[in-house]
């Protein structure tokens, strides 16, 4: 029986920034609380992801058409279908599950941080104490046991919706929502966290930006994996070419030697 590919929709129009999802994530994953302090940049707290905080609620403030706006954006791993982090991992510690989750297996992670280089969304976080990297798991342990991810279950306004990925995309597109994540680019593929809005679709238009770019979601996210991968592929080819060249030259050299010998015998 084929496994269903799931997704989580983050509806920017109905999110109230209550941080219930942030708390639920901590509780379910048994993550310690951060020591927080006043953040002069805004209400986002902790100000960034850490090895102990796998998702944060970002509070984005700005002015659009002379009107201030205050927008809440859930920030965590987007669980890319192409998962460049998994492609970069030298010990295959990052598993891409058919359900859509991209999960770092701590028993395999060696803390090399190649995944951080490859991630275009700047998500994985390294913990020098354990020499391992951590990030959101999409609650794969809950999904595989028929439960919704903890953050979705905690959301009081249904701004987070969990379900089969394709159905979610079709449902929100049909309802006139703009969707970020159903097809991003060839580097990340599509994402299993989908950001949707009707209300903020013109955000950033005056600056020539798309609404999702204002949110910090790039239109064409690119990490630093291709250069390394190409280096390996070209390198293996070069080494093979060098070996072939050596064999070809050895054959030629031997033929020349035989020619010389027979020439000197004949003379």
């Amino acid at each position: 029986m084929p496994v269903t590919e799931y997704g989580i929709v983050v509806n920017l129009d109905t999110c109230i920034g209550c941080r219930a999802c942030q708390v639920a994530c901590k509780v379910w994953n048994g993550l310690k609380a951060e020591e927080t302090s006043f953040n002069p940049q805004g209400y986002t707290n902790p100000p960034d992801l850490t090895p102990n905080t796998w998702m944060i609620m970002q509070f984005l403030e700005g002015v659009e058409d002379g009107e201030p706006f205050w927008l809440f954006k859930k920030h965590q791993c987007l669980h890319c279908s192409e998962a460049p982090c998994a492609k970069a991992c030298p010990v295959n510690a990052i598993e891409v599950h058919p359900e859509g989750a991209v999960v770092i297996r701590s028993d395999r992670c060696i803390g090399c941080r190649y995944c951080i280089e490859a991630c275009p969304y700047n998500v994985p976080r390294y913990d020098p104490k354990t020499n391992k990297v951590y990030k959101c798991t999409l609650c794969i342990d809950r999904i595989q046991n028929g439960l919704q991810p903890a953050c979705v279950e905690a959301c009081p306004t249904d701004a987070l919706e969990f379900g089969p990925w394709r159905e979610l995309v079709e449902k929100y597109r049909a309802a006139g929502y703009e969707v970020y994540g159903d097809h991003v680019n060839d580097y990340v593929g599509h994402t299993h966290y989908l950001y949707v809005t009707r209300k903020y679709r013109s955000l950033g238009a005056k600056q020539g930006k798309k609404w999702y770019e204002v949110l910090g979601l790039p239109a064409d996210p690119r990490g630093r994996l291709p250069g390394v991968q190409l280096g390996r592929e070209v390198g293996v080819g070069l080494a093979a070419l060098a070996a072939l060249g050596a064999v070809a030259h050895a054959v030629y050299w031997r033929a020349k030697r035989m020619e010389k010998r027979s020439g000197s015998k004949g003379g």
């Binding site: 010990v91 028993d107 190649y114 280089e117 354990t130 390394v228 293996v236 060098a242």
Partner: protein, 245 residues
């Protein structure tokens, strides 16, 4: 017994021998580290070597009172981790060897013949005539190809060392710098491997060159006839120096 001509000093023999050791360690561990991302069948072969390193390491950890599972490593990951440690140590070792060689060679710096004798054009023609025409040509101690190889090894290792250090101490650098260093490191390493295949073939794969292998690894000297035939310019220079002495 044929007269022997000195080609390499004790320092050169010692340096070359240890460069071989460290280069072998660096290449092998580098391939183990990236095994999972190599095309087939290289991935299986070097992946197996990761297990071959990781399994005894896990037993050793257990014997020392540690549990590899408490440390949170599978045998494969532990193998790659061991390879990373060896890779770093070998890199530092290689740099130390290079430094010893450089300090030892500095007093002789005036004797270095970096630019090919007779100019670049003639050096290229000589190289083609010998390797692609098998004709006798007037090489010095090193031909253009050998000079370029030595220079590439020197510059290439400096690049590998610098980028390796950035990767090792990645917390001290910006993500862009680390990523660039990683990319350059991989490209330079593979260029080095390809160059090394050619170097080893030209030294060992061509029977006429084997006296040079004995010279660089053991004696430092080669038979007079060999030097006269393969390196006439160097032979003449050595003979002239002997006369003056």
């Amino acid at each position: 017994m044929a007269r022997e001509i000195r080609l390499f000093s004790e320092l050169e023999i010692w340096t070359h021998k240890h460069v071989v050791h460290f280069a072998a360690a660096l290449i092998l561990t580098g391939l183990i580290i990236s095994a999972a991302k190599l095309p087939s069948p290289l991935d299986s072969f070097f992946g197996w070597l990761a297990y071959a390193l990781g399994t005894p390491a896990s037993y050793l950890a257990k014997a020392l009172g540690y549990s590899p599972f408490e440390q949170g490593y599978s045998a494969y990951s532990l193998g790659v981790q061991v390879a990373r440690v060896i890779h770093r140590l070998a890199g530092v070792g290689m740099a130390a060897i290079g430094l010893v060689w450089l300090l030892g060679e500095l007093p002789r710096i005036r004797k270095w013949q970096i630019w090919p004798e007779g100019g670049l054009g003639e050096a290229v023609r000589n190289l083609a005539a010998y390797y692609l025409g098998r004709r006798s040509v007037r090489f010095g101690k090193y031909n253009l190809g050998q000079k370029l190889w030595i220079l590439s090894v020197f510059i290439g290792f400096a690049i590998l060392f610098a980028t390796g250090m950035v990767m090792w101490f990645r917390s001290s650098f910006s993500p862009e710098t680390v990523a660039l260093a990683h990319t350059i490191h991989v490209w330079a390493a593979w260029l080095g491997i390809a160059g090394l295949i050619v170097h080893v073939y030209l030294a060992i794969g061509i029977p006429e060159h084997r006296p040079m292998v004995r010279a660089i690894f053991r004696t430092g000297t080669a038979p007079e006839d060999f030097v006269k035939h393969h390196h006439p310019l160097y032979y003449e220079k050595a003979a002239k120096e002997a006369e003056e002495a």
